[in-house]
């Protein structure tokens, strides 16, 4: 474990705090936006199944629509969301690193 007392020698405590909020908030904003999309999907699927069984039970390519969504299409959606996140998150971090510390 290293000595943390001096935080980073280049920053005062107040500046460090500002930096923390700045960095964290931007990361959280990105993560929350994507999580919101995903959570809406997760909440919506059972609700559609319950309240719109005729839509969920429609036959598509031999499957019911709900089976096709959950058993097949769901995975590519997770890939797209995570690929988008990784791209944006890396861009965001490059941006943060370029900014002056204070």
């Amino acid at each position: 474990m290293q000595d943390d007392a001096g935080v980073d020698k280049r920053l005062t405590t107040e500046e460090a705090e500002q930096l923390m909020h700045r960095v964290m908030w931007r990361q959280a904003h990105l993560s929350l936006r994507i999580a919101a999309v995903f959570i809406v999907i997760l909440i919506a699927i059972p609700l559609v199944n319950l309240f719109a069984p005729t839509i969920a039970g429609k036959s598509v390519l031999g499957f019911t629509l709900s089976w096709l969504v959950l058993g097949v299409l769901f995975y590519p959606v997770t890939w797209a969301l995570s690929a988008y996140f990784v791209k944006r998150s890396n861009a965001l971090e490059a941006e943060i690193s370029k900014e002056p510390l204070k």
Partner: protein
């Protein structure tokens, strides 16, 4: 011919051990031993994480659960995969930047509290043991299926081999082994299913048939002999027979059978007339003493060679038939065996050859215990609807799986093998692609199992579908080879997961309990010895636990491990990474209460299922006990927030620096590894 699967299983074991030895040559230092030197490439690491993550639950369990429960079981693979997205969004980056070996390291580093390390270690062990139980079941079941070994023997042999391998190797070399095993598993789950589908009909064809004949139930072949379970396998010793047509059961001459009770399969509603056992069951040849035994309502022996006809009964209220949706309601009988044995299942009056019934490939009696196509195919079927609160059950399951992924000790430790946080994120992305690619195949096995091997509904041996299905091929050699391929895949699955868990759990003992708590000055050599001793002990306990869970579904058990992780580690990691106000007291209280309450209710539900406990509980309570995440995760988070607010004075003074270290990109030159590699 049955030597083929065994040969392939031996082959994968040898490949695993050999790769392990090859990897060992490259690893020298303690850091190599615990986190593989922190410098593994993205694709390699993603394969390794996926390889470790795809356990017996993914390989055998999901297929079985989809076969048994249909649509609702699809949430399991979806949740396993979706959990990774949450891990990626909120936890992977910060955790890697913080740079500690284990979750207990994170716990101690974040709160400067050695006490907290001990609490965190408890959950490594709780979750770990819960996760090893289904792996052990898979080992016993696979060996039993391919070689006919008794359940315990498979567990003892396979468990010992893996334990020995881990004890001599540690985690070093495991990255390459796990990566290899991922590709072995993908191959083993995909190739055989394509061949099977080309012979027996494709995914959408079977789904389409189920859709078209929603009322149909799978049928057995006429006169099929199935060995029913006795009381030692409760609750799998019950068969619920058709409510639509009679079934005739013939009992073998050379065996003794005993029936514990005969009750209606459908749960009676208040006010309905009681249905007696003799209204369901009658002997076909006059046998007054057997008929009066049936009527007595007590347990009775079945004389050898007897034949009993089980008929559905009309449900009545005040002696008037109950009508629902314009149809008379009937119920079949549920027979609980005390002593089981081979039983011949026949369709009543089936001397004539009957054509295959609509919507099923076979013409025999309706298979016991199977839900009708419509119930199986559509949401809120037998799994979610079990306790009458399907929406609640579904959401609770989703929460457990999605949040629980972040709480698996053996998975998180792998993030530290990435060179930096950026690589950790790219790794997670690839893991999701690899997992999704694998999970697309698992429901296909369940669908094929339902269409082709309905006899598994009788004995509840759904988890063996993946191994047994290929043997249906007419070309026996090909069938045995493909069954060998899936057996080898199953081996890869439980070997990789069990090894990973053993490393985490033994690491917790050696690194956290021995190295940090018992003997802080221990030399690296003595820590390695502690690791090895711990591995052997943990392996032995896992095997013992595995012996007790033969009757539980593999995927369900893994779901429970997730639920415990979701209520303990997930809130700790989420709040610990994102909320500076979290204190050690808050985190500890939330983790302990959330985690132990989930653990407690899950263990109680298991005991209730096994009828060890006989509490009468309302269905809502049973649903919440079986799937605790929906209340336990919010409770844990709430406790963390409230207690942290109350103990705000104990926020570590350098918390700002810690948060910066968790979040600042590496390029800023602020984050440093908590333990320098």
């Amino acid at each position: 011919m049955t030597f083929i699967p065994f040969a392939l299983v031996v082959l994968i074991i040898i490949a695993t051990v050999a790769l392990g030895i090859y990897g060992t040559r490259k690893a020298k230092t303690a850091s190599d031993f615990f986190v593989a030197g922190r410098s593994v490439g993205v694709l390699m690491n993603a394969s390794a994480i996926s390889g470790e993550y795809l356990s017996a639950a993914s390989f055998m369990g999901i297929a079985g659960l989809v076969m048994k429960n249909g649509y609702d079981a699809l949430w399991y693979p979806v949740g396993y995969a979706a959990g990774y997205l949450f891990l990626l969004l909120f936890i992977a980056g910060p955790l890697r930047r913080f740079g500690a070996y284990t979750i207990p390291d994170f716990a101690q580093g974040r709160f400067d509290s050695p006490l907290f390390r001990k609490i965190a270690v408890i959950f490594v062990l709780c979750i770990g043991f819960f996760y090893t139980m289904p792996q052990m079941k898979a080992a016993g079941l696979t060996m039993g299926t391919i070689l006919g070994w008794p359940y315990w023997a498979g567990i003892a042999v396979v468990g010992s081999v893996i334990t020995f391998n881990v004890a001599i190797g540690g985690m070093k070399g495991i990255t390459i082994v796990q990566a290899f095993q991922y590709w072995a598993k993908v191959f083993a789950i995909s190739l055989p299913v394509f061949i099977l589908m080309s012979v027996f009909g494709g995914y959408s064809q079977h789904m389409g048939t189920a859709f078209e004949y929603q009322k149909a139930v799978p049928r057995l072949d006429g006169g099929e002999v199935i060995t029913v379970n006795g009381a030692e396998k409760a609750p799998l010793n019950a068969i619920s027979l058709s409510a639509a047509e009679p079934t005739v059961l013939h009992f073998d001459k050379d065996h003794t059978y005993r029936i514990a009770k005969i009750t209606p399969a459908r749960k009676p509603e208040p006010g309905e007339d009681k249905i007696t056992p003799e209204s369901f069951a009658r002997t076909t040849k006059a046998n007054d003493s057997l008929n009066s035994d049936i009527a007595s309502g007590k347990a009775f022996d079945i004389p050898s060679g007897a034949t009993i006809r089980i008929s559905p009964v009309v449900v009545t209220k005040d002696h008037v038939a109950v009508v629902k949706d314009g149809k008379i309601v009937t119920t079949g009988a549920k027979i609980e065996f005390e002593k089981g044995g081979p039983v011949t299942f026949m369709r009543a009056g089936a001397r004539l050859r009957l054509p295959a019934a609509e919507g099923t490939a076979k013409s025999g009696p309706i298979v016991p215990n199977a839900p009708a196509n419509g119930k199986w195919l559509n949401p809120f079927g037998p799994l979610a609807g079990k306790w009458g609160f399907p929406l609640l059950y579904t959401y609770s399951l989703i929460i457990a799986l999605v949040c629980g992924t972040a709480g698996l000790p053996h998975i998180l430790v792998r993030f530290y093998t990435n060179p930096d946080g950026r690589a950790a994120k790219r790794t997670t992305l690839w893991v999701m692609v690899m997992l999704g690619g694998f999970y697309l195949f698992t429901p296909m096995w369940g669908v094929l199992g339902r269409a082709l091997m309905p006899q598994l509904y009788v004995t509840g041996a759904f988890d063996s579908a993946v191994i047994k299905l290929p043997t249906l091929l007419e070309n026996q050699t090909l069938g045995q080879i493909l069954s060998g391929v899936t057996s080898a895949g199953a081996f890869a699955a439980f070997m990789s997961t069990f090894s990973g868990l053993l490393v985490s759990m033994s690491g917790a003992f050696a690194h956290d309990i021995y190295g940090k708590i018992l003997k802080p000055n221990a030399s690296p050599e003595s820590r390695l010895v502690a690791f090895k001793i711990a591995a052997v002990c943990v392996g032995a306990v896992s095997m013992l636990l595995g012996l007790m869970v033969e009757t539980f579904d593999i995927a369900t058990m893994v779901g429970w491990a997730f639920a415990i992780g979701a209520a303990s580690y997930f809130p700790l990691l989420l709040l610990g990474s994102w909320w500076r106000g979290l204190t050690k007291y808050g985190a500890a209280v939330g983790m302990l209460i959330g985690g132990f309450l989930s653990l407690g209710t899950i263990v109680c539900s298991m005991l209730l299922d096994k009828k060890v406990l006989t509490w009468e509980l309302p269905n809502l309570v049973r649903a919440l006990m079986e799937q605790p995440a929906i209340w336990a995760v919010p409770l844990s988070i709430l406790l963390m927030v409230v207690v942290s607010k109350m103990t705000a004075k104990s926020i570590p003074p350098d918390v700002t620096m810690k948060m910066i270290r968790l979040h600042a990109p590496e390029e800023m030159g602020i984050s440093e590894n908590y333990i320098e590699a």
